[in-house]
């Protein structure tokens, strides 16, 4: 068995074919920004493996995260975003292979834009992680790790019926292994070659919108007729490629490009009786390249140059009128260079340090100036200290880290973190951590210019805003009394200060509209407990259950944060045939009523209203019909329950999927190059 520190280096430059396939040897990177075995991680990390992603029956990341303990999915016209530990999506950092994702709409990254077929695994680290990742990592970090090349060709197709009828052919994965000449001599002889492999994924999907009545779907993309829609119909095209070059065993390069284009259309109604046809066209581009170099057993150096762009057009057309017509375009792009090094100065310490340089530009007609940009330089240092080595029955790891961010708009931010991991026995792991997080004031809050003529107010950004700050503490216990049973329980608390809220800066007495702006004024806290248990009762039967409790408080208003579920729970089972050719999964989820604060009787006081409790049953069966082909059949929200007034829950949806592979598929495993 390797020591936890040595594992930071051991897997880094392993050849792709030697990927570790044992689930217990899962490699994770998010907790420490350096690859290590999941079981050795000093900071608790939840991993959704490729198998689990597929078995969930989801088409996008959004549906997968919907039922994770401690996470809450919120849906709107513009997509699905996630809350973590009761904190809004603005406080959750979304990464793709370690790089922050561009394109926050309404504060959040739309998780429905990531098709499952592009994802190898998802790592979730809860709690403040600004000591490693900087801005926005307050509620936690979700790192999407993309799929590597696999042998052969894999195609999936799926049709679905019900409220969101649609069809998609999501992925074709191909591997082109071989030697690529780097350069040529004059005679045509290659000077040097590298081993390479490439994964290319192409997807096309179309999903019907779901209507307010949640009974029948409306014609997506038609823009005429039909009922008002809760979620717009959409057509999505994706293309991604990832190329891995192996110069030698200690020197590898990875490059990847992903492009997604999505067109959405739906019909909205307003309380004033206005009927509005809305359409949007969104593009995402992500590109990255960089080497991963191992220096024997002494250290490693990873460099990554990434560029990401987000372009969005929104077209609003009021029927029978033009007053509400609107066209808005947004173009947001960022360039980032990261250099991260890990060294083992002694047997008991692993030092990870890094430098990040980031430049971000936003162009949109919603801002008071047409283009804004910011630069940020960051350095971080982290020490993982093996206080009590793992050779005995006990083990104790301590982590200390600090990061400094210097931003051209908001100035300085220091983010420290300490964490402890203690294994008092072989089957018990206790963890505790405390850290500081911050959220950079977004461009919108700094420079927004928005006028609502309907009720005569305008909102202007405030360029003087400071970052929001947070302290987060967490404790967790993981217990595996037998090989068949795993039990986890964790507790979290986050205190947010300096939160950005709105204030009246001009009361309208001069005859103009009331003018609002943003200031650092609010405070809030959240605290919660999450637990999960899984039990492999028999080889063919597994049971799982989870439950969460959450308390939140808006300190200024002295009431809970709205829309947070104070309690959630779920149970599930998997039954499979002895040959594992037939597999059945079923899950039941429950969510307590959600509190909302809305002035429903017009007395200018907000009353408490509750979105009703929500029960959902999902079921799925998959049959491996032959070596090449599998078929799956599933139902989402089988009871067709939920609330369409406050918290949009997806109505019942049935789907039938086909998976065909033309050659052997590599079993889903992780690699350490990200």
């Amino acid at each position: 068995m390797f020591s936890p520190l040595a594992s930071l280096l051991l897997f880094s430059a392993a050849p792709a074919d030697a990927r570790v396939e044992d689930e217990e040897e899962e490699i994770v990177v998010t907790a420490t920004r350096s690859p290590g075995r999941l079981e050795d991680s000093p900071v608790a990390t939840e991993v959704l493996t490729r198998d689990e992603l597929v078995a969930s029956g989801a088409d996008t990341l959004a549906e997968v995260l919907e039922h994770q303990p401690g996470l809450q999915l919120t849906r709107s016209f513009r997509g699905a975003t996630v809350r973590m530990n009761g904190l809004d999506t603005d406080y959750v950092l979304i990464l793709v292979d370690g790089q922050p994702v561009q394109g926050r709409v309404g504060g959040g990254i739309d998780l429905s834009r990531f098709p499952i077929d592009r994802i190898e695994s998802v790592e979730i680290v809860r709690g403040a992680a600004s000591a490693l990742y900087g801005a926005d990592a307050i509620g936690g970090v979700i790192n999407i790790r993309t799929r590597r090349a696999e042998s052969g060709v894999l195609a999936t197709a799926r049709v679905s019926g019900g409220a969101m009828a649609g069809a998609d052919t999501q992925a074709v994965l191909t591997r082109f292994p071989g030697a690529i000449p780097l350069s040529y001599r004059s005679g045509g002889e290659p000077l040097a070659t590298v081993d390479s492999s490439a994964a290319v994924s192409v997807g096309l999907g179309r999903v019907g919108s779901w209507s307010l009545a949640s009974i029948q779907s409306t014609p997506a993309l038609s823009g005429a007729g039909g009922e008002a829609t809760v979620m717009d119909g959409q057509a999505t095209g994706t293309f991604s490629e990832r190329v891995d070059f192996k110069v030698n065993d200690d020197h590898r390069w990875t490059s990847q490009v992903a492009y997604t284009r999505r067109r959405q259309a739906g019909i909205q109604t307003s309380g004033s009786g206005a009927v509005i046809d809305s359409a949007s066209s969104t593009e995402f581009v992500e590109a990255a390249i960089g080497p991963d170099i191992l220096f024997g057993t002494k250290g490693r150096l990873t460099t990554n140059l990434a560029w990401s762009g987000f372009s969005d057009q929104a077209f609003i057309d009021q029927r029978m009128g033009t007053a509400l017509d609107k066209y808005e375009s947004t173009y947001d792009r960022a360039t980032e260079l990261d250099v991260v090094g890990t060294v083992l100065p002694t047997e008991k310490h692993a030092l990870t340090s890094g430098v990040e340089l980031r430049h971000e530009v936003l162009e949109t007609d919603r801002l008071s100036i047409p283009q804004v940009d910011r630069q940020r330089a960051s350095v971080f240092l982290q020490d993982v200290w093996e206080v009590i080595p793992s050779s005995g029955s006990q083990q104790l790891l301590a982590v200390g880290g600090i990061r400094y961010d210097r931003d051209s708009l908001f100035g300085d931010a220091w983010s420290p973190r300490v964490a402890l991991r203690w294994d008092p026995t072989q089957d018990l792991v206790l963890r505790a951590s405390a850290g500081r997080g911050f959220r950079a004031p977004p461009f919108k809050d700094l420079y927004l210019s928005f006028v609502n003529l309907g009720v005569g107010y305008r909102v202007d950004g405030n360029p003087e805003l400071e970052p929001e700050r947070a302290w987060n503490e967490s404790m967790s216990l993981a217990w595996s009394p037998t090989d068949q049973v795993d039990f986890d329980i964790s507790a979290q608390r986050t205190d947010l200060t300096n939160m950005i809220g709105t204030t009246v800066v001009e009361d309208g007495s001069s005859g103009g509209p009331v003018r609002y702006s943003y200031i650092n004024v609010s405070q809030a806290w959240t605290q919660g407990i999450d637990s999960a248990i899984s039990w492999d009762v028999l080889e063919q039967l597994a049971l799982r259950a989870h439950g969460s409790l959450l308390q939140t408080r808006d300190v200024a208003l002295d009431r809970p944060l709205q829309g947070r579920a104070p309690a959630t729970a779920g149970v599930g089972t998997r039954v499979q045939s002895p040959s594992e050719r037939i597999r059945f999964d079923a899950d039941y989820f429950w969510q307590a009523p959600l509190p909302y604060f809305i002035d429903i009787n017009g007395d200018e006081q907000e009353e408490t209203v509750e979105a009703p409790a929500w029960h959902q049953i999902d079921a799925r069966v998959e049959v491996q019909a032959s070596a090449c082909c599998a078929i799956n059949l599933g139902a989402e929200n089988l009871l067709d329950t939920g609330d369409q007034t406050y918290s949009f829950t997806r109505p019942r949806r049935l789907y039938l999927g086909l998976v065909a592979s033309a050659a052997t598929r590599g079993k889903g495993g992780s690699d350490a190059t990200n």
């Binding site: 190329v243 492009y259 067109r263 307003s270 309907g454 009246v504 009361d507 007495s509 907000e606």
Partner: protein
């Protein structure tokens, strides 16, 4: 071509910019209709029976412009004439008190219906029930000092204004008592700023 080059070139072909939505979609521009033409008024003696209820829609969609209405002239007038009420978006001023020199006053009758208000409800001159516009108190909301400052209920989630069930008796510059009910703030297309009200002179 090498596989990697193939990948790169196919990518270059695919990653074009998405077309401009404005070139692909056409707007619907029809008028909602139902709006009265209020131009042309101006004479004091219109010959009309002012006790007949009249429904009026004022296009007050402009953010800055004030539209002045005179009850006796049954229409919009410019500020040279003795107007009675002025409307800008959802703000309504009287030509009296803080907002005008015409001496217009008003009485607010809550939870009643237009047809139930008669001349008997008009207080005598000098009665304390008559009020007029005052300066906006410092509560941060425009028009809150006006008699019509809170004609609506505001839904903070949908941002929709709904008229309160009230009738306002307005005594015009010329001293004529008229009853006024605000009916709506939206046209048939759902556009805000179309101020719709019903009025009639109260005669003995």
């Amino acid at each position: 071509m090498r596989p990697t080059e193939r990948v790169i070139w196919s990518l270059v072909l695919i990653v074009g910019c998405a077309p401009d939505l404005r070139d692909q979609l056409t707007r619907s521009n029809g008028s909602p209709g139902g709006l009265e033409d209020l131009a042309g008024a101006g004479t004091l003696d219109t010959g009309l029976d002012l006790t007949e209820p009249r429904e009026v829609v004022v296009d007050a969609t402009d953010e800055a412009a004030w539209h002045h209405y005179d009850f006796e002239r049954v229409g919009l007038v410019d500020t040279q004439l003795p107007w009675d009420i002025a409307i800008q978006r959802f703000c309504v001023h009287l030509n009296g008190g803080f907002n005008g020199s015409g001496g217009v006053q008003a009485v607010v009758l809550e939870d009643t219906f237009f047809d139930e208000v008669s001349f008997d409800d008009v207080p005598p001159d000098g009665d304390a029930a008559w009020i007029t516009d005052v300066a906006d108190p410092e509560d941060g909301y425009a028009c809150s000092g006006a008699v019509f400052g809170d004609w609506y209920d505001y839904d903070s989630s949908s941002h929709i204004l709904t008229p309160k069930p009230r009738i306002t008796i307005v005594r015009t510059v010329e001293g004529t008592p008229v009853k006024v009910e605000v009916l709506d703030y939206y046209d048939d297309a759902g556009t805000s700023g179309y101020f719709r009200f019903l009025w009639a002179e109260l005669a003995p």
